[in-house]
């Protein structure tokens, strides 16, 4: 009887212990990720860094990719999409000048990771995903990780989310070859829209769209200081 009880206890406790160990390991990896991949490359905004330290990135990748969730790379999530490299997520977050309580729209939920990072410092995060499978999976990842404050919608991101507009910032993670006019309309005066430009595995540059009155300007930002790509003298 005692042996049975002992075995039963083991069966119940071992997975819990193992999960706790995994969580410790992932947390350790997260701290290292922020230190080595993000702070080291110049991201210094405290809200962004805290968000990156807190969001369990391993919950936002496919199970078989969990081991490399904190690596310095984008990771495929299916449907031709990726979860961006941690540094790019942090850089994009910093660029929109994060503030508590700001209203942010994300176009392209994907895995839900960027929305989770935003939800670390504001309760007004709205995210839209056009691919139904990703919308369901991304929302599931967010809920599983405890982000109830993110509203997810399966729809065409072209039209934005008018009922919640205007937005302080719009983060476009699934860029198209044009900037939808409704998104510019839904951006607050003085608001910022950030768009990564590049292939799924390599962001070439980030485009920051700023609205000031009726004038809209775009600014190219290099995520890592690549230029000028010439040999040293």
């Amino acid at each position: 009887m005692l042996r049975k009880f002992f075995l039963l206890t083991l069966i119940i406790i071992l997975p819990i212990l193992s999960e706790a160990q995994d969580n410790d390991r992932f947390q350790q990896q997260r701290i290292q990720m922020v230190e080595n991949q993000i702070e080291a490359r110049g991201v210094s905004d405290e809200l962004t860094l805290n968000a990156m330290r807190n969001v369990p990135r391993h919950n936002f990748v496919r199970e078989r990719d969990q081991r490399r969730a904190y690596s310095d790379n984008p990771i495929p999530i299916g449907h031709g999409q990726t979860i961006s490299q941690p540094y790019i997520v942090a850089y994009m977050t910093e660029i929109i000048r994060p503030e508590e309580g700001m209203r942010v729209l994300e176009i392209g939920t994907g895995s839900g990771f960027q929305a989770a990072v935003l939800a670390e410092f504001t309760d007004e995060v709205y995210t839209i995903e056009i691919v139904p499978e990703l919308a369901g999976w991304g929302e599931g990842n967010l809920r599983k990780s405890g982000y109830e404050n993110v509203e997810v919608k399966h729809a065409d991101g072209y039209y934005g989310w008018e009922v919640h507009a205007p937005f302080d910032a719009i983060v476009v993670t699934a860029a198209a070859d044009h900037i939808p006019p409704p998104l510019i309309d839904q951006l607050k005066d003085g608001g910022r829209m950030i768009i990564p430009v590049g292939s799924p595995f390599q962001v070439q540059n980030l485009m920051l769209v700023e609205k000031s009155g009726r004038e809209v300007t775009s600014r190219s930002l290099m995520p890592v200081r690549f230029v000028p790509f010439t040999r040293a003298e």
Partner: protein
């Protein structure tokens, strides 16, 4: 009918064994080459065309490994050749029929993930094995036949070459009529038929044959076509809600699909000043790549492209006659018509796509193609530029360069003969006195496309002793740049118009004769001014100094090295590696990296599977040295010649698939004829040396003459061009075909144990040469590749004396 068949069967039954073997060899060779080209097409549909070269290498590798297998087990195989040769054909047939099904079982291989996911490497290796198997079995039977019937090698090699040549030709024709997914089964049945010709008596063989036929027919009824990569354009579009493929068809040009989706908007780098939803149109894809948006005719007035930088040339002049090169589905042509052009010449080489547009999209594109102001040239832009004799165009629009977000370098292996220095020279000559060449480039980071284009235009203008800054203007939006090259200097009014136009649409001037720094970054602000400094240095500064310092190769493309999108050199590879790291570099220059990796893996694998096992049976204190050099020289020379000419003939034939089919067919058939004729020659060293020197001489003459010959051919009707191509290819190939059988006969006279070894060396060199020639053409140009081919034959000339004798 049945009586005739019976007569034929009886005649065949009574034929000599050698005749039967030759017939089987010919038919199996048709099947092997046909299957090889079908595999190339299938992989182009599923992945990228870089795998075409990989398939050629796989085929050669299968053949090479078969040669090694023969060396190691030659006595047993020779003893049982009557059963092994047909058995090899049957196994080749089964593995052909099942290859697509087996490949689909390995999981989704995706080349885009190759550099970041170890599982993909494992899948690729498994696919290699699956693809190489049919070639191994067929190669084993063919090489064994050569070995057993060495005295008849001339006839057998002739049958082999003729079959291969025919196979390459008919597979292209069959692609017009048989759906791609049915083709492996078709060629598998042909391979089974070749086994039937020499099938030994007995129930076991009859049953095996019946089972093989059953599997082949099964593969026809349950065909498998590999899924396209999820990173291809069409896969992304299929993710959109309610996306639907409304048309799908195959041809040698590839798999054409038309897709409709409510969210498929056309607004490439749309000006941020435009209000309102962009139009939604069906989109055509070729092998999964974006080919064009199908818009139809616009009424004069507003066109969506008015809100992109592509409208720049129309803002400053009103062209009456416009030529659109590489016009795709005709979006730029419809734009020109809407801007009031009286006549538009739409030049597009993909005939299949144009036929589909007329037939399937008759309400939209069909209207455009039938528009009275539109003339259609179904030809390569270079052939148009050479052959067009009408009124000179006022505007020539080239294809848009790059793509949104960058191309990841997938196009670096593409021959872009319409973008070489010689092509722009032709465009300039064709233009009216006030004419303009317009090119739109997607922004890429770090900049490459725009710098290479500017370097090309600067060279052109300087050669004409014109001041480049007076003739070139450019504007930049957030995503694209449009550059215009005018034959006459821009007037002050035109320059003022460009400024005003930029202001209205939120663009920034990039190049104007009197441009000032501050106006370059009014609406679209770069992080710093380095891009402008690069543009200025390439366009008007010390180009050589800039190129020496810049990581990317931005020297103008030429007809000798027409790879406009190839920007990496071996010298810059280590620096780029330092900058990007091993995980990111492949996504900057995927095409180059794939070619590079393919080359190394092919050399390594063929070394392991072909050369090392041969070494096991000893080098025999250098006795085989001459055998090695002779057959290495023929293998290398033959493949370097073939690969280089496949790429170069695209210039005159206009299409890679047709070029490959024609060059391979002619070279193989002429080689087969040469091989047959070789039996009338004595395999003495004097004859062979003279032959090798003649081949090397012809190739060297070609290096000096080909560019002139190609210019001449481009002026001719396609039929006359093909005839001349046959002559140009056929003469050296006829002589090349003699080298292999003469060498084997020389060996056979002295020591026939060298023969399988020689076949193995030839295969190893052919395998490696395929990949190395591709890379050498990319980096150094076709002349160097041909020079190496000539060098290969000179090595044969030097080593022939000791061939078959102790060194």
């Amino acid at each position: 009918m049945s009586g005739q068949l019976l007569k034929l069967f009886k005649a065949f039954s009574g034929a000599s064994p050698v005749f039967k073997v030759a017939a089987a060899l010919a038919l199996s060779s048709v099947a092997v080459l046909g299957f090889q080209l079908v595999m190339m097409q299938m992989l182009s549909v599923a992945q990228w065309h870089h795998f075409a070269y990989m398939v050629i290498s796989m085929a050669m590798l299968g053949f090479g490994t078969a040669g090694t297998f023969l060396v190691l087990f030659k006595d047993r195989l020779k003893e049982n050749h009557r059963t092994i040769i047909p058995a090899g054909f049957l196994l080749a047939s089964v593995s052909m029929a099942l290859s697509a099904w087996f490949a689909s079982r390995t999981g989704n291989f995706d080349v885009f993930l190759l550099f970041m996911d170890w599982e993909q490497v494992q899948r690729l290796l498994t696919l290699y094995l699956i693809w190489a198997l049919p070639f191994f079995f067929a190669g084993l039977s063919i090489t064994l036949a050569f070995f057993v019937y060495t005295k008849e090698i001339g006839s057998l090699y002739f049958a082999n070459m003729i079959g291969s040549g025919v196979g390459s030709g008919i597979s292209v024709l069959l692609l017009w009529v048989i759906p791609l997914e049915l083709m492996p089964g078709f060629f598998a049945l042909m391979m089974a038929a070749s086994a039937l010709i020499i099938l030994p008596p007995g129930r076991l063989f009859r049953s095996s044959f019946a089972l093989t036929v059953f599997i082949c027919i099964g593969s026809v009824f349950v065909p498998v076509l590999p899924e396209p990569s999820e990173y291809k354009d069409i896969s992304k579009a299929l993710n959109l809600p309610d996306a639907e493929i409304v048309h799908e068809s195959f041809s040698p040009y590839g798999k054409v699909q038309i897709l409709e989706a409510p969210a498929l908007r056309f607004a490439p780098s749309l000006s941020m000043t435009r209000i309102g939803e962009p139009p939604v149109y069906p989109v055509m894809y070729n092998n999964g790549h974006y080919f064009g948006t199908i818009s139809g005719v616009f009424e004069p007035g507003e066109h969506i492209l008015d809100y992109t930088t592509r409208s720049l040339p129309f803002e400053i002049r009103t062209p009456e006659l416009v030529a659109v090169l590489g016009a795709g589905t005709g979006m730029s042509a419809s734009h020109a018509l809407s801007k009031g052009a009286e006549r538009v010449i739409m030049v597009e080489s993909n005939r299949h796509a144009l036929d589909v547009l007329k037939r399937e999209a008759s309400e939209t594109a069909g209207q455009l193609l039938n528009h009275p102001g539109l003339s259609l040239w179904k030809d390569h832009p270079r052939r148009f530029l050479s052959r067009y004799r009408g009124q000179n165009p006022d505007l020539i629009i080239t294809p848009v360069l790059g793509s949104f977000g960058g191309t990841s370098g997938v196009g670096s292996m593409d021959e872009r003969f319409e973008l070489t220095s010689q092509a722009f020279e032709k465009m300039w000559d064709r233009l009216s006195d006030e004419g303009i060449i317009a090119t739109t480039v997607w922004a890429d980071f770090p900049p490459r496309y725009v710098l290479k284009l500017l370097a090309t235009w600067r060279n052109l203008l300087e050669a004409k002793e014109l001041e480049p800054s007076d003739h070139v203007a450019a504007v930049r939006s957030w995503g694209t740049m449009t550059l215009i090259l005018s034959k006459s200097p821009f007037t002050k009014d035109e320059i003022s118009n460009i400024r005003e136009y930029s202001q209205i649409y939120g663009y920034d001037p990039l190049l104007l004769p009197d441009i000032e720094d501050h106006e370059r970054k009014r609406f679209n602000i770069p992080e710093d001014d380095s891009f402008f400094a690069q543009v200025d240095q390439v366009f008007s500064g010390d180009f050589d100094a800039f190129q020496n310092e810049y990581f990317f190769d931005i020297r103008p493309a030429t007809d000798n090295r027409p790879f406009f999108a190839a920007f990496v050199t071996p010298g810059s590879l280590s620096e780029l590696l330092d900058e990007y790291g091993i995980s990111q570099l492949p996504y900057v220059e995927l095409g180059f990296m794939l070619a590079f990796v393919t080359m190394f893996q092919i050399i390594l694998v063929s070394l392991l599977l072909i050369l090392l096992p041969l070494m096991k049976i000893s080098w025999e204190k250098g006795k085989r040295r001459n055998t090695f050099f002779y057959f290495a020289g023929t293998g290398f020379g033959f493949m370097f010649f073939e690969i280089s000419l496949i790429q170069q003939f695209i210039l005159t034939l206009g299409q890679p698939v047709y070029s490959a089919a024609l060059v391979i067919s002619v070279i193989l058939i002429a080689s087969g004829a040469g091989s047959y004729y070789s039996k009338f020659l004595k395999p003495v060293s004097g004859n062979i040396r003279a032959l090798a020197c003649v081949i090397a001489g012809i190739i060297i003459t070609y290096i000096l003459m080909l560019s002139w010959v190609f210019s001449f051919i481009m002026n001719l009707h396609i039929a006359a061009g093909i005839f001349l191509a046959i002559v140009i290819l056929g003469i050296p190939a006829f002589f090349m075909g003699m080298m292999f059988p003469l060498g084997l006969r020389r060996l056979q006279q002295a020591d026939d144990s060298h023969i399988p070894w020689a076949c193995g060396i030839d295969s190893f060199m052919s395998v490696s040469a395929t990949a190395i020639a591709t890379m050498a053409a990319l980096l150094y140009g076709f002349s160097i590749v041909l020079l190496i081919a000539a060098g290969g034959y000179l090595i044969c000339a030097l080593s022939v004396k000791g061939l078959g004798n102790a060194a």
